[in-house]
Amino acid sequence: MEKVTVIGAGSWGSTLADVLGNNGHEVLLWARSQERCEEINQRHSNERYLPGFTLSPNITATPDLERACAHSHWILMVVPSHGLRGCARALGDFVGGEHMIVHATKGIEQESFQRMSQVLREETCVRKIGVLSGPNLAREIMRRQPAGTLVASKYREVLERSQALLHSPYFRVYAGDDVIGAEVGGAFKNIVAVAAGVVDELGMGDNTRALLLTRGLNEMAHVGAAMGANVLTFGGLAGIGDLMCTCASPLSRNHQVGERLARGQSLEQIQAEMHMVAEGVKTTRSTFAYAGYKGLDLPIVRAVNAVIYQQRPVNEVIQDLMALPASRELVELSW
């Protein structure tokens, strides 16, 4: 059994630490707050993020980043996208060329439109970088219901190591080399989830949702191709898989934002009531700007952006979408 490090003790970080612990590995979990560390070490629980679950006894928590980096050369990083740069910069003091970092953060840095692996590359000396992304709701995995995910990296060493460590009887880990595709899929699906919340709240049916998801996938592929992804990735777990999962889950924050928008609430109201911004709200803005810069035509992104940032009524926006000329369904994308 091996020593492994997990950075970030939110719901997803704790869940992945639990998977690793259940595989018998000696997990050192870094958490920012001392109290959370004590809770994990003494009671094997994380009530704030995973209420009601017991964590593997193989997990030890520490607030000491240096110790976390010294514990293992394999680091799984699970911090929110807006905190990743700062965290990576701090990590940079303690990592070396032998380290591997796999991140499980879904999102794109707002203004720079940088992917998380690019941020890691800019803030540390680490080259062996990977991403874990897929249809993975933390609670289901804590219940050990069968699930699958994708780890993507240019470095085969990272893939082999990550699969060996994470693969378990209830968690299948597939490998791929398309880092960009995995990252774009994980970030972009949140935009479609907001739109799904809208159509669900308006009482539209399965046809509508299937139309939205499929055309949303198409837009995802266009953005991905422009950024250098392999479009086939979007047919996998990190693409259509994650998209279906997120859009089907009424509990997701992005979905809830969509519902509230459909009820006519403004972004300010929603933010005030939800206490936190859903990832899809920020991703919509930055993707909208990126598409404009690159000359990409993304009607769904444009529509979601119009509802969130230009206070356009949802019905009107949907009418506009439906009035667009329908061109050929599939165009060849080069990547």
Partner: protein
Amino acid sequence: MRREDQERALVEVTSRVVDGFVQAAQGRDGYLEGVLSDTLYHEGLRLEREDPSDPATKAYRELYGRVRRELGSASPSRQKQLLTEITRQYAEEVVGNFDDRVYRVATRALPHGLSILLKGASLRRVASMDILLRRGLEDHVQVEGEVEHVKALVDRGTLLVTPTHSSNLDSPVLGYAIYLMGVPPLTYGAGLNLFTNPVLSFFMGNLGAYKVDRRKQATLYKAVLKEYSTCALELGYHSLFFPGGTRARGGEVERKLKKGLLGTAVRAYTNNLQAGRAKPDIFVVPCTINYKLVLEAETLIRDHLAEVGKARFIITDDEFSKPRRILNFMSNLFSLDARITVRFGKPLDVFGNPVDGQGRSLDPSGRVVDPRGYVSRDGAPVRDDQRDQQYTNELAEAIGAAYGDENVVMSTNLVGYAVTALLQRANPGMDRYRLLRTGGALDSFPMSEVHAEVQRVLEALQGLPKPPALEPVLQAGDVPEIVNDALKHFAIYHSLNAAERRGDRLFHLDRNLLLFYGNRLRGYDLGRTLAADV
């Protein structure tokens, strides 16, 4: 290469190449036979075109004939012997062509080496070329950038200089720049055609050049070349690669680099660590070689436009093959006091990290990194080809980025770009070949428009987050003067003038050349409105 190193390299190269193929053959039936067949096939094609009375050709025919007769019935161990025999032959050819005498002479004193090399050539021609080249280079090669930084690393490890490649004059120019800097000569694999001209051949010697026969297309031969360059790096010979592969056909600063030869850097570094060498570090030095006029511009751009993807890999009948043309080029260029600028970028480690003056690798925030970690597993250096390929990609990216930062923009580049952009805007939607051939609707533009466009492009360049370097006339920023300077240069060398001023209008005459010189600015994000995207 020193004699004792030559013998060592010969043995090492042969055994490593053979071992490499034998290892790859594990569990793959017929693999070695396939490698040998590939060699026979490619060499067969090559030999058909060779002079049959040439001794080397005869010897190869004999060798391959023997291998062919035996191949069908050869056991695996016999196959290995045959492979070794051919490999050894190639290795001897590559290693043996390294002229130790030239290397030593060239190191000590530049001018005196000439007489050794030039015997046989007509005295008058030699004398005039000698004066032109030597004096010309003395007065006109400008070395700038991270010169002191590079010099500080000479004794701390092995340098691998990786310049942009736009002309066959690049290697002599760089050789001269290195000589001016007081850096020892660089080892370099050069195509056979570069040795045909005696004077240039001398400069090749100054670079420590060895001959590469690019007509030999067999995988085995390429493996030998790669291994030889790895060995030279390991033995501490400062080296030179052109990672763009061949001269940039379109005149652009290369952004996509060939990874094959570049990959020998990580390999040599790992081998050095495994062998416990005292100075294992290899410092990669990106640099740009910048010309106001390019000797082979006409041939290169014609070839580039011939049809994308069908451009010739080797060009032998270009301006470079005509000594008079070179003379002409040099004397014209130098009569205008044009400088050839060699600009060095920040040295890198083999993983693409910047290196400081003491040879320490730095992370993006400037923190010191121990590069050994990258190739280590549990603290010990390990070879991993897939991993190293990725490192080489990262290195190539860092070199490409450095090219962009260290490019020195000349008046000819700026004006070429601006006029191409004007042409394109005046003829929206026109097929690029037609536009280049016919010039579109207008045969000229008002000077005021040209000036305005040059001004805009110049400002866009200066406004980039990481702007390229500018030659002095561009730095001064007097736009009419910049345009005059470019036109003066266009007029002096090329067989057809690229553009010419008549009254208050600028006529575009050879649009291919305008495109070629302007392409040096491609790859910078100058925004949609300024794009000259032909």
